[in-house]
């Protein structure tokens, strides 16, 4: 079991980092994926590639994270920009290996997080991970047509959002 975790943790973390807003969330999400893996190992069929099965768990965990973010945003009050004494967000402290890329990633994540959870998941995988729509459809067990339609609507929502909130 430990060998499985050590072998796949980088791949899982890389994929989840497209969803996670900060390091702590990423750590929690990676942990959640492997706990789900341990619980569901009996349901894995040996004739299917293990990585595909693990990737499906990972993507579903990412989508659940989008869902939780939406709920959290709905029920919490946005902090006021005038709060100078507030501690800086973790993203501002953790600049990453490439600060420009980290800043861009944070901005994209922030934008996508304002969309409905499924839209957020689809556009995250399509734009940030570069997945084809048919791959996204397979991961979420949707039809390709439904996925295309969902992606098209998500893109339209994003476009409306970009018009009301220009990028920096």
């Amino acid at each position: 079991m430990e060998a499985l975790v050590l072998r796949h943790q980088d791949e899982v973390a890389r994929l989840l980092w497209r969803f996670a807003r900060n390091h702590a969330d990423l750590q929690d999400l990676v942990q959640e994926v492997f706990l789900r893996m341990v619980r569901g190992l009996a349901s894995w069929r040996a004739d299917k590639p293990f990585l595909h099965w693990l990737r499906r768990i990972t993507v579903n965990t990412g989508r659940d994270y989008c869902r939780r973010q939406t709920v959290r945003r709905r029920w919490t009050v946005e902090p006021t920009p005038a709060a100078d004494d507030a501690p800086p967000p973790p993203e501002a402290v953790d600049r990453g290996l490439d600060p420009a890329a980290r800043t861009a990633a944070n901005e994209v994540k922030e934008l996508l997080a304002t969309l409905p959870p499924d839209d957020c998941a689809v556009l995250t995988l399509h734009h940030l991970e570069g997945w084809e729509l048919k791959d996204i459809a397979r991961q979420f067990s949707w039809s390709v047509t439904a996925t295309k339609l969902r992606a098209w609507r998500a893109r339209a929502r994003l476009r409306a959002l970009l018009e009301s909130r220009p990028l920096s």
Binding site: M1, V5, R14, L16, H23, R39, R159
Partner: protein
């Protein structure tokens, strides 16, 4: 997705292109392994351990032994009820015309 690009689309595409270069921070492997280990401990209860120890032959043997024991006890109880409650059971008792020495 096939809609004409707008200036915002192009700047979003550029932003995405830069964002793709971002790499995740390092994961705390030790904490991850601790969590997985504790989950494994919770997952494998004493019953799972027992089931792992007993292979299918052991389970079958246990089932057969249990069934035989149940059959023996049930048979004895049935005979006991039959011999004491039913009057015609005296035919099988001591001195009966059918089995003069008795069955048991």
């Amino acid at each position: 997705m096939n809609t004409p690009d707008q200036p915002n689309d192009r700047s979003f595409a550029e932003l995405v292109r830069r964002a793709r270069a971002d790499r995740p921070p390092t994961i705390d492997s030790a904490a991850l392994l601790r969590a997985v280990r504790s989950e494994e401990i919770l997952r494998y209860t004493w019953w799972d351990e027992l089931a792992t120890l007993l292979d299918i032959r052991g389970a079958l043997a246990g089932f057969a032994a249990g069934a035989a024991a149940l059959f023996a006890v049930g048979g004895w109880m049935a005979y006991d009820a039959w011999a004491h409650v039913l009057p015609w059971a005296e035919f099988l008792g001591d001195g009966s015309p059918l089995f003069p020495g008795g069955v048991l």
